[in-house]
């Protein structure tokens, strides 16, 4: 029974990591931009949920409203970042890391000055409180919800990339920017849309995190390193790799943590990733692109 409980814990942690990393796999994987402010976009999503709950009152309605609005808030922040800073730096992907780190610092302090340093509380709706009992196993409803939401996001993103004209444009720009440009695709516009979607996904991740933990200025920093590891281990350019890597990391953390301690588990997961990259330096799944050196 413990093994099944841990299996669920691992998948659940994996789904959280997946939500955090999905947007990154777009902006980093597809565009080569290392956005350290991704975590702060998550924070913005979480505060969006807080603000909406303050306005709407009802926890259930506000959660359902916060998901799309969190997407928009995260996306707009991303758009702003892309338009002001990132677009001038596509030739210097490593430098985007440091610039966005600066943006992250500023956003954190803005949150501190606007909402105050203490954490704020976002109430979970009644229909998400408690657990579903299956054969003596208590599966928290919030975690089931997040798992489902992660699946929805992945499917939606995959469909959007595969089946829409927009998705075709994104893939074309990723695979060969010059050729895409020559075929009449505006790579500027495509970049913006990609960044909007990727950052928006961070906003959604932030909203769901309010169900699990604290909402405070440093919410994003707790996830950013793990999220990048997921993308690196998953390999760039394909959602499939990100999904598998997120679940693998979640399961490893859960099982290592169960048999050792949380601290040791984190270190072990890191060692496992370095070892894995020895075997597959380009990550789990990789597509040959011209976007990254």
């Amino acid at each position: 029974m413990d093994i099944i409980a841990q299996l669920f814990a691992g998948l659940s942690l994996g789904s959280v990591l997946l939500l955090a990393a999905l947007g990154l796999s777009l902006t980093f994987g597809q565009m080569g931009v290392i956005n350290m402010a991704h975590g702060e976009f998550m924070m913005a999503g979480a505060y969006t949920a807080f603000v909406i709950q303050g306005v709407v009152g009802d926890a259930g309605v506000s959660l359902l409203l916060a998901l799309p609005l969190g997407f928009v808030v995260g996306g707009l922040l991303g758009l702003l970042l892309e338009a002001t800073l990132i677009h001038r730096m596509y030739r210097r992907p490593l430098d985007t890391l440091l610039v966005t780190w600066g943006v992250a610092l500023v956003l954190q302090q803005v949150a501190r000055d606007v909402f105050g340093a203490p954490n704020v509380d976002v109430r979970a709706p009644a229909w998400l409180s408690g657990a579903v009992e299956i054969g003596g196993l208590a599966l928290p409803r919030t975690r089931l919800f997040i798992l489902a939401l992660a699946i929805v996001c992945v499917v939606a993103l995959a469909l959007a990339l595969r089946a829409t004209p927009l998705g075709r444009r994104i893939r074309a720009v990723v695979q060969n920017r010059d050729l895409a440009e020559a075929s009449g695709i505006s790579s500027r516009a495509t970049d913006r849309v990609t960044f909007f979607i990727g950052s928006g996904l961070a906003g959604i991740a932030g909203v769901t995190l309010t169900l699990l933990g604290s909402v405070g200025p440093t919410l994003g920093t707790n996830y950013i390193v793990d999220a990048f590891l997921v993308v690196v281990a998953g390999g760039i350019g394909q959602i499939k790799g990100t999904v598998i890597a997120a679940m693998a990391l979640g399961l490893m953390q859960a099982f290592f943590e169960y048999s050792t301690t949380a601290s040791v588990a984190k270190v072990l997961v890191f060692v496992a990733i370095v070892a894995f990259l020895q075997l597959r330096p380009q990550g789990l799944v990789s597509v040959r692109t011209r976007s990254l050196a």
Binding site: A9, V120, T218
Partner: protein
């Protein structure tokens, strides 16, 4: 490249010369060796200037970084106490002049800023610090410079520096009474959850020793890294261990994630109560009242304490900082610390560190938590322990009290079961 080869040698030659010069200076400038039998203590002369109408004191709290959440509140109540004292004529007729520094949530910065306050600003005393790491970092600085620190937070004990006054609880004023209370309630088994740092580790060492002597079974002991936010595994372990109660020494954000998870798997204070020693009034709002209602806390002060001194303190604080701001134990301890220093200085009729410490024993203050008395031997203060229950109003209400102040015993020397601990 070939053209530059001459300059290469030039650079080498010059660097050799300047390095040699520096080495000569360095070697000729050696000072005292410790093994020369020289007196290692207090080479520093105090530069505190009390000749004017004012006297400088330092506030050293983290106003930025992860600890700003908690330390800003302490800073606010210190400011309040200073304002009140100044409005009331100051200390020995001198107005307090505050020098405020930011510890940036980093021990190294605390050490640096403590040095600055003492040697550059020449303050008569410093008030602040929160984490054990920040206190441990400042301790050698205060001892080397022979200056005074007032530390306002409950901590893990096992310390008593002649240069620090501890106005928060030590373990026998918080953890031990909490355990006494649990035994009284018939608790037979405990699960320990804590963040991975010195306070929880030491607290749990004490709890283990206590449990052994009082026939309590410790069914689990788990540590989460600071800032850890996924508690599904730990809560799974807690749930399947099915103890009578959980003793929680988690810190900061982790509490939020822990209690949300705890509630999500369907557990509540009725099934397995959680006794927390790091959750005060201002954290309850961030965790969400619905997630912690009915859970227990152990402190020496709550906003709901019924006394004239507390009514005045709470009113003054809210008037200064807003109706929605609660008061909490560390804030009260910080507020008290400034008044205790004032009382010590006035008893000593001097700002000098040696006079103040000599006068410290037996100094009392009618604090919001009740009357507190300074113990001159170990520099802690006698405090009443209060077990509280978190109410639906977000405040904590006293469930149980030790009735009278408990004498501080940082090394737990008065407890037989604690023999092997330090």
């Amino acid at each position: 490249m070939r053209l530059r080869s001459t300059s290469r040698y030039g650079a080498t030659r010059l660097s050799t010369v300047s390095l040699a010069a520096l080495c000569v200076v360095a070697l000729s400038a050696c000072g005292a060796r410790v093994d020369a039998g020289s007196d290692t203590s207090a080479s520093a002369e105090s530069c505190v200037d009390t000749s004017g109408d004012t006297v400088k004191i330092g506030f050293l709290n983290s106003l930025s970084g992860t600890m700003a959440i908690s330390e800003q509140t302490v800073h606010d109540s210190l400011e309040l106490a200073a304002q009140e004292i100044n409005a009331d004529g100051g200390v020995l007729g001198k107005e307090l002049e505050i020098v405020s520094e930011d510890g940036q949530s980093e021990p190294t910065v605390f050490a640096e800023k403590a040095g600055k306050l003492i040697t550059s600003d020449c303050v008569a005393a410093v008030f602040g610090g929160w984490t054990s790491a920040s206190r441990k970092a400042m301790l050698p600085v205060f001892e080397a410079q022979d200056s005074l620190l007032f530390y306002p937070v409950q901590y893990e004990g096992l310390e008593s520096s002649p240069n620090i006054f501890y106005t928060g609880a030590t373990t026998n004023q918080q953890i031990v009474p909490a355990l006494d209370y649990l035994v009284e309630q018939g608790t037979k088994s405990l699960f320990l959850v804590g963040s991975d740092y010195v306070f929880p580790r030491t607290a749990n060492k004490i709890i283990n020793a206590y449990a052994e002597a009082h026939d309590i079974e410790i069914v689990g002991e788990e540590y989460a890294p600071l800032g850890h936010t996924d508690f599904s595994t730990i809560v799974n372990k807690v749930k399947s261990a099915d103890a009578d109660a959980v003793f929680n020494t988690l810190n900061g954000d982790s509490n939020v994630a822990f209690f949300k998870e705890y509630k999500n798997v369907g557990m509540s204070a009725d099934d397995m109560p959680v006794v927390s020693v790091s959750i005060a009034e201002e954290e309850v709002g961030g965790i969400g009242i619905e997630n912690v209602e009915g859970q227990l806390t152990a402190w020496n002060y709550y906003q709901t304490v019924d006394s004239p001194a507390n009514t005045a303190f709470v009113e003054a604080f809210k008037a200064e900082y807003g109706e929605d701001r609660p008061t909490s134990d560390p804030m009260e301890a910080a507020y008290t610390s400034l008044y205790l220093w004032k009382a010590m200085v006035e008893k000593a009729e001097s700002f000098a560190v040696e006079d103040v410490t000599a006068a410290a024993d037996g100094v009392t203050f009618d604090a919001p938590e009740g009357e507190v008395v300074v113990n001159g031997d170990n520099h802690h203060i006698a405090k009443t322990a209060l077990i509280g229950k978190i109410g639906a109003d977000g405040l904590i209400h006293t469930e149980w009290s030790s009735e009278e102040p408990i004498e501080p015993d940082p090394y737990l020397e008065g407890y037989d079961w604690a023999d092997g601990l330090s």
